[in-house]
Symmetry: C2
């Protein structure tokens, strides 16, 4: 089958670090164009805007939107109306409400819409889901603690309203959690810590329940120096189930069952190709809904100011 | 048809002011019981908890949950599991995510779940919807400005995290707006003003769009002295369409088309009876999603402290 002609919109850090290598390795896609305000790729048709690309590169069949979530809706709507399949980086939008109209546009134009959650494609996630489907879970704890200066150097949009702050990595944890647990969760309580000079939180705690007695705690922190922590630990009747390193490692009762290299974006593009082939969409807003709920009911605390340069 | 035996859970201000008279006037329902921590009604079986009521008043077929949104989920789940039809006062829950599991429980137990938005039953709302369905709308503005001391005297939960603050009345405006407009909206920008001593906003502005060039502005304020303002004004090709007095009055191009007395809770109970008769649920979270989105992307400002007593 001929590879799908794909364009990247927004050639920033995530596009260069993850999308370009995954597309290059994918049999299903061929990189046909770039639309980015200030960046281009040698040998690839590059445009300053999505508008220009849609007009001048009619062979493009699908676009991967890698711009920040604020303002992404209009680009997605434009691409869908032009009959392109659309892949949305996470989070799929700045708001929950903006996604339903995109779903409607995808149906109207007969194309696929894919709200990606890259961490769900990490190697340990599907095996963990299968283990937990047959376990009795008595508690779950998520710790996602990283150094924002290391992982988001100089990125201003994460600190602007709608930029999510520590929920930008935290939503990855929630995307795994909501995939591996058999039951739905909802938020009971949250505390959000905002640096006094910033509009998004630098740390947060969340307490979820499932309405049946299971409590799930989530601890997010962007001020972590030294070892970086991205794990989900569940107490079950099969022993401790531990999803570690952001979804790469699975341990059950102390035994390592999966320890793989990074395969997240390969998984995303394989799934996107499959969706296009089947004429389907894959739209799941659950992680974003949980974050919106945290902002909705969370208690706000003000903490010390944050400066990018130490 | 025999009236449905109904219980009220949470005999507070809204239950006494609105639900009791509407139930008394309704042919479809008979008040059979009260479950409320500190209140009872002469001549009506009264219980200290929903637990006690479910155990001791098996004839109750439906419950109206009039407790504050925080903690309402567990009561609703309990009632649904006991096979009762459930009516939820607005907002339907403290979080967006908690409602889907209730929908599942309603289906599982073969009962009706109704997330009410009382303002949608105001007399001018359905006529306004019909006018706007055939109009070209060029702008819409919502102003919802009232004196919190007059309308929420001494209510502490509205100031606690999850209590919504000025969005408690503001969500009524959003419930009307999202009913009368033909198209879906999503939030572009919001500013939330928090009193320095409170956990919820006392004022907010929102700017929505529909992805097709329509801008909708919403102005919420709980510090309004003098005349109270609850109106939605739309510029259209049919002239100005004005929904005033919280949905009671409709004016089109200066002509008053509807000016009715309060009929909101009568409408709610008529619809609830119809849902039960048909074996259906009516669950719409759109207004709550917009409020969650406002907390998610809104810029926070701190304003002067608020004290209940002037």
């Amino acid at each position: 089958m001929k590879p799908v002609q794909l364009a990247i919109v927004g050639l920033g850090k995530i596009a260069r670090d993850q999308h370009l290598p995954a597309i290059a390795a994918s049999a299903g896609f061929e990189l046909a164009a770039i639309a980015s305000r200030n960046a281009s790729l040698p040998g690839i048709a590059s445009f300053n805007s999505l508008d220009d690309m849609l007009e001048q590169a009619p062979d493009v069949q699908a676009v991967a939107l890698c711009t920040p979530p604020q303002g992404r809706h209009l680009l997605a709507a434009q691409a869908l109306r032009a009959g392109k399949h659309v892949l949305l980086e996470k989070p799929p939008g700045a708001t929950v409400a903006e996604i339903a109209p995109l779903q409607a546009l995808a149906i109207e134009n007969g194309v696929s819409l894919f709200t990606t959650w890259h961490s769900r494609h990490a190697a340990a996630v599907e095996p963990a889901r299968q283990v937990l489907a047959r376990a009795k879970i008595s508690s779950a704890h998520v710790a996602w603690k990283e150094d924002v200066r290391q992982w988001h150097p100089g990125q201003q949009w994460i600190w602007e309203p709608g930029g999510l702050g520590v929920f930008d990595p935290g939503i990855n944890a929630l995307s795994i959690l909501t995939r591996i647990l058999p039951q739905a969760l909802f938020l009971d309580q949250a505390v959000l810590q905002f640096p006094s000079n910033r509009d998004t939180p630098i740390a947060a705690t969340m307490r979820f329940q499932d309405g049946n007695g299971l409590a799930v705690t989530v601890d997010l922190d962007w001020r972590q120096l030294g070892p970086q922590i991205w794990h989900i630990v569940l107490e079950t009747d099969l022993g401790e189930v531990r999803v570690d390193e952001g979804g790469k490692i699975l341990q059950v009762a102390g035994q390592t069952q999966v320890a793989d290299v990074d395969a997240e974006y390969a998984g995303i593009y394989a799934h996107f190709a499959e969706l296009i082939r089947r004429g389907e969409s894959d739209v799941d807003l659950t992680p974003l809904v949980h974050v919106a709920d945290a902002f909705l009911i969370g208690r706000r605390e003000t903490v010390e100011p944050f400066e990018d340069a130490v």
